[in-house]
């Protein structure tokens, strides 16, 4: 044991510089895991601690229909039996606001209005920018608190007036932090806080408007779980949702746990790339240590002792690498801008103990797993080679085999196989799947990630083998440096495939993600083409339809389509009587998942240009049904037909704003969702039954391109139809573009780290094989090669390697973009040849420069010294 420990320590002392890349490879992956896990754990910690302030209560009961007297009475009855200390109500809706005449810019903006009662919030605090304490008095008598961005957009300041639903409100303060509002979550607009009663009296809450009504309860903790359970059980079918601080805590916990696991998997992927580096470094290291192993065996050390010494060395290096990774994570966390920290809901970040130990454990495991197979080579070292090979002794060469595709070739290979090494490779693969499964908290996901990695690695290996073979004829080129550069790619013990794999994966990540981003953004801009609709008006009352049509037609932009107005109602499926699917109650529907959600439905007598019937017949050209027709007639979208097995002829029962209605499915439509300007509906009814039902209309129009004109149109519409909201698709696409940019940046950082790992592996490979190159260079020099020739050889070799890696990466990235565009995003594939070519060229330059720079010694060393040393 003493010998094993001492040898391991001595080897670390002697070779740590050469093995620097070993632990840097490990460090980057460990750093990524520790940092990502720590951030998410910190965020989760602070969010779950604030779960009460997230819902501003102990328990919140919500619905998106106005409380009916019956429902209220039933709820009151339940509340009476629970230990409730206080209660209040809020209402939230998205609506348009504009500055009062004569003030600010002449535009209107969509905001998320929240009407609150005195005492709000039960938990957490509203923080105002000027530091004043929040009291309900600020909202009394048509006061409003707004976010700073709204003031900037509308050109207003505190004290100015804001028109909400036709009623002026005075801005009394600016909200810095509002409890329960998560930055980064999707919203229709910035928050405006007003008094509950004032909001009720604006008239915005007319029938059909999209408001959320909430009852907030402050209660003794002992009663929360019971009331939560009871209300969920009894009111689910009445479209009432219940949230308690406990369920919020659980929800946040689950969401963030998933996020943590997936992000850790990203770290694991980086670490596996590092693992490839570890494998390559260990392979070369073992080859360089053959003589030492033979000496040790000659001096009486058993194979097990020698193997143990090197495994222990790997453990020490893995620990050092993991330690460095933790330090990198610490530095990385300190570098996160304060703005991002607060945006994610944290006060400050620090490394968490569990993230650190997981990172270190995974780092150590990956180091061990990736070095085990190459380390097993030491078993093959025979001490006899000390008598035979002298200083240049190497591992015994494998026997020559007949071609592998012949029976004799296969037999001879099977007979010569090192089954211990094969067994170790199998164990290592299984262990890697287990580690990936541990990191993702799902063995299935772990297996998929490892299979994906294996697949990509296999494709890259096959591609690089093919390319290396393909360029072999260039080795007959008359130019000496080119000929030798190509020969170097295939020299014994070369690192060509490892470098191609590592750098190829890195460039594949970066080019692939950038190409996808370009494809997506191009798709969005196409959708916003010159004739496409880019503004939606919602909550138009039936009495406003004709006037709205007249206004929109009068202000229609030249060349734009006639604005369209479509009636919409909101409905839920509460039952299905069909050939395949039979759902007797809403509870049964709920168990189907998505089918229970609230759908926006419409009725019309024609198909839209983006629709086609794939089953049954549409009622186009037929007269409307009588208002009392039973059953009514409905056309369903193909997705509903496929997911829930609802067919033509089946009867679907709907709850349309409290009214039960049965409809027979008469057709199945396929909607081209990417061309949803004509609107896309899951359920379209035959006209008739809803003629006089309460409903609202939506407007679809192409607004003027000029931002001032757009703003003016929005403002005029809000002035004339205060209850109508205008959704500016351009603005939302702007938000979406920013979101896509952020995601792209995040994935590009991961890709960048992968590429960095690739470059590190390259530097490591160069450093490890440098002794061989220095020797070759010395011989070439004595034969008359100049420094310039040697430099050209190196530049061509590494530039060529970079070009091959770039080509492999770019090729794989093009394939990825095609597959994701076609099969995941369902958008047309547009190749980005410029991007792929630029990626390949940058990779060429990067590898060329790094390769030549790290081989500086090869050009600098005097030949005599080198040859003497050999």
């Amino acid at each position: 044991m003493t010998f094993v420990l001492l040898m391991a320590l001595r080897e670390v002392r002697a070779s740590w510089r050469r093995l620097l890349f070993f632990f840097v490879c490990v460090a980057i992956g460990v750093g990524a895991i520790v940092m990502l896990r720590s951030i998410i754990q910190t965020v989760r910690g602070s969010l779950t601690r604030e779960s009460r302030s997230l819902i501003a209560a102990d328990l919140a009961v919500a619905t998106n229909r106005p409380w009916t007297p019956e429902l209220r009475a039933e709820l009151e009855q339940r509340f009476a039996g629970a230990p409730i200390l206080a209660r209040q109500e809020t209402v939230e809706l998205a609506s348009m606001v504009r500055p009062a005449s004569g003030k600010g810019s002449q535009v209107a903006r969509m905001v998320e209005l929240r009407g609150v009662q005195p005492g709000f919030p039960f938990y957490g605090t509203v923080i105002l920018q000027d530091g004043r304490p929040f009291t309900h008095d600020l909202l009394a008598n048509h006061g409003a608190l707004v976010r700073p961005e709204l003031l900037a957009e509308l050109g207003l300041s505190t004290g100015d007036q804001l028109v909400v639903g036709g009623v002026p409100f005075t801005i009394r303060g600016v909200i810095a932090v509002e409890p329960g509002r998560r930055v980064g979550a999707f919203s229709f607009g910035s928050r405006v806080l007003v008094d509950y009663d004032d909001l009720i009296h604006t008239g915005l809450l007319s029938f059909g408007s999209r408001a959320s009504y909430r009852i907030l309860l402050k209660m003794r903790e002992s009663g929360v779980a019971a009331l939560d359970r009871e209300l969920r059980r009894d009111f689910a079918s009445r479209f009432v949702s219940v949230t308690s601080f406990r369920s919020t805590e659980d929800q946040i916990g689950d969401d963030l746990q998933r996020a943590e696991n997936y992000l850790s998997l990203v770290g694991f992927v980086i670490l596996v790339l590092g693992g490839i580096g570890v494998w390559s470094v260990t392979r070369v290291f073992v080859r360089q240590k053959v003589r030492s192993v033979a000496i040790l065996k000659c001096l009486g050390a058993t194979t097990r002792q020698v193997l143990a010494a090197y495994v222990l060395q790997v453990v020490l290096l893995g620990l050092a690498g993991s330690g460095l990774g933790v330090a990198l994570a610490r530095i990385g966390m300190a570098a996160i801008p304060a703005r991002v920290v607060t945006a994610l809901g944290g006060a400050s970040y620090s490394l968490t103990a569990s993230a650190v130990w997981q990172g270190v454990a995974v780092g150590l495991l990956v180091s061990l797993l990736f070095s085990l197979v190459p380390l097993l080579e030491v078993r093959r070292v025979k001490p006899l080679l000390l008598l035979r090979g002298g200083a240049t002794a190497g591992l015994p060469a494998g026997a020559a085999h007949p071609p592998w595709w012949t029976a004799a070739g296969l037999r001879s290979r099977l007979a010569a196989a090192d089954w211990t090494q094969v067994g170790a490779a199998v164990v290592v693969s299984a262990a890697l799947i287990a580690v990936a499964g541990w990191q993702a908290a799902s063995l299935r996901v772990g297996a998929i990630v490892c299979a994906g990695f294996g697949g990509v690695a296999l494709v890259l290996t096959v591609a690089s083998t093919a390319i290396v073979r393909g360029v072999r004829p260039v080795a007959r080129a008359p130019w000496f440096p080119l000929r030798h550069a190509i020969l170097s790619l295939g020299r014994p013990g070369n690192q060509t495939r490892v470098i191609l794999l590592a750098v190829g994966i890195g460039s594949f990540f970066v080019i692939g993600v950038r190409s996808l981003q370009a494809n997506l953004l191009q798709q969005f801009s196409l959708e916003l083409g010159s004739s496409g609709a880019d503004m939606f008006l919602i909550d138009i009352l039936p009495t406003q339809v004709e006037r709205m049509r007249a206004v929109l037609t009068a202000r229609k932009a030249a060349g734009a389509d006639v604005p369209r107005l479509i009636p919409v109602l909101r409905a839920r499926v509460t039952g299905v009587r069909g050939r395949t699917t039979n759902l007797a109650s809403f509870e049964d529907v709920r168990r189907q998942g998505g089918l229970a959600r609230e759908y926006t439905i419409t009725y019309r007598d024609h198909l839209e240009s983006n629709e086609k019937v794939v089953q049954g017949t549409f009622w186009a050209g037929q007269p409307p049904l009588p208002e009392t027709a039973a059953p009514a007639e409905v056309s369903i979208e193909k997705g509903i037909h496929e997911r829930f097995k609802i067919d033509v002829g089946d009867i679907v029962r709907f709850d349309v704003l409290g009214r039960t209605l049965e409809a027979r499915v008469s057709s199945v439509r396929e909607v081209q969702w990417e061309d949803a300007r004509s609107g896309g509906f899951m359920f379209v009814f035959r006209p008739g039954p809803f003629g006089h039902a309460p409903q609202t209309w939506i407007g679809i129009l192409k607004a003027p391109e000029d931002p001032t004109e757009r703003g003016r149109l929005q403002r005029d519409l809000v002035a004339e139809f205060p209850n109508v909201s205008a959704i500016d698709v351009r603005e939302i696409l702007g938000q979406l573009q920013r979101a896509v940019d952020n995601i792209t940046l995040a994935i590009s950082i991961v890709g960048g780290i992968a590429l960095l790992s690739g470059v590190l592996i390259l530097v490591g490979a160069v450093a490890m094989t440098k002794f061989q190159r220095v020797y070759e260079a010395a011989i070439l020099r004595t034969l008359g090669a100049s420094t310039r020739t040697l430099g050209a050889m190196l530049a061509l070799e590494y530039g060529g390697l970079g070009l091959l890696a770039g080509l492999v990466g770019a090729g794989a990235a093009i394939a990825l973009t095609w597959a994701v565009s076609r099969h995941v995003l369902d958008i047309p594939w547009r190749p980005a040849p410029g991007l792929a070519a630029a990626g390949a060229l940058i990779t060429t330059a990067l590898v060329g420069i790094v390769g030549v720079t790290s081989s500086y010694d090869v050009l600098r060393k005097k030949p005599l010294g080198t040859l003497r040393a050999e």
Binding site: R10, R291, S292, K297, C298, L299, K382, L386
Partner: protein, 225 residues
């Protein structure tokens, strides 16, 4: 005592088999210095490798102090070498990452000796290198490296010291010092020394000389086989 009974070595060469050593019998008494001589390719180093258990003979048995090493496993052979045999190479074969002192300690550590450091000190003093103990092999001359190698070979006080052309890589003056050292070890410690050499001076100072040619013993003076 070293005994070889019908020992031969044959290796595959292309499609045919190549005989490096034809069946031979040999006995070397304990406490003697035996030199194996012969031209390149005569089988000297192969014979030495077989004596050290670094390779297995194709036929025959090798018995060292009553132990049949041909029937030992690879690990048992390693342990046997560690305690009973010391080896000195033409190219020294010191571990480049270890100092002279650490190189001498290695066999002691492998054998689990508790006083490895002290014994390494004593051995380095014995070969006259106590002042160079913390130097790495690259900082030592060829002669010094070979003296460290001899100290290392003696670490576990082996009964047999095998040396493969110990002076082959040294100038004549340094070679003479190494020869003196090996003979001195034999005289003082009664260690059996078997050398492979081209060096006539070294062969002359041996108690016995075994000459090989084409894998066969052509002369043995005095007769030892």
């Amino acid at each position: 005592m070293i005994e070889l009974h019908g020992v031969s070595k044959t290796v595959p060469s292309g499609d045919a088999m190549l005989t490096i050593l034809h069946p031979l019998d040999l006995r070397i008494e304990s406490g003697r210095v035996a030199a194996i001589t012969g031209p390149s390719g005569s089988g000297k180093s192969t014979l030495l490798g077989l004596l050290a258990g670094l390779d297995a003979p194709s036929t025959g048995r090798i018995v060292i102090d009553g132990a049949d090493i041909t029937s030992m496993s690879e690990d048992a052979l390693a342990r046997f070498r560690g305690t009973r045999i010391g080896f000195v190479f033409q190219f020294f074969h010191l571990l480049p990452s270890l100092t002279a002192w650490e190189n001498v300690r290695v066999p002691l550590e492998i054998a689990g000796a508790s006083d490895a450091g002290r014994r390494a000190d004593a051995l380095l003093t014995e070969v006259g290198l106590s002042l160079r103990r913390h130097h790495y092999p690259s900082q030592l001359s060829g002669g010094e490296q070979q003296r460290v190698a001899i100290a290392r070979a003696l670490a576990n006080d082996p009964a047999i010291l095998l040396a493969d052309e110990p002076t082959g890589n040294l100038d004549s003056a340094t070679g003479r010092q190494v020869i003196d050292l090996l003979i001195d070890v034999n005289r003082r410690r009664k260690t059996t020394v078997v050398l492979v050499t081209h060096d006539p001076e070294l062969a002359q100072r041996a108690d016995a000389t075994i000459a090989l040619r084409d894998g066969r013993i052509v002369s043995a003076v005095p007769a030892v086989s």
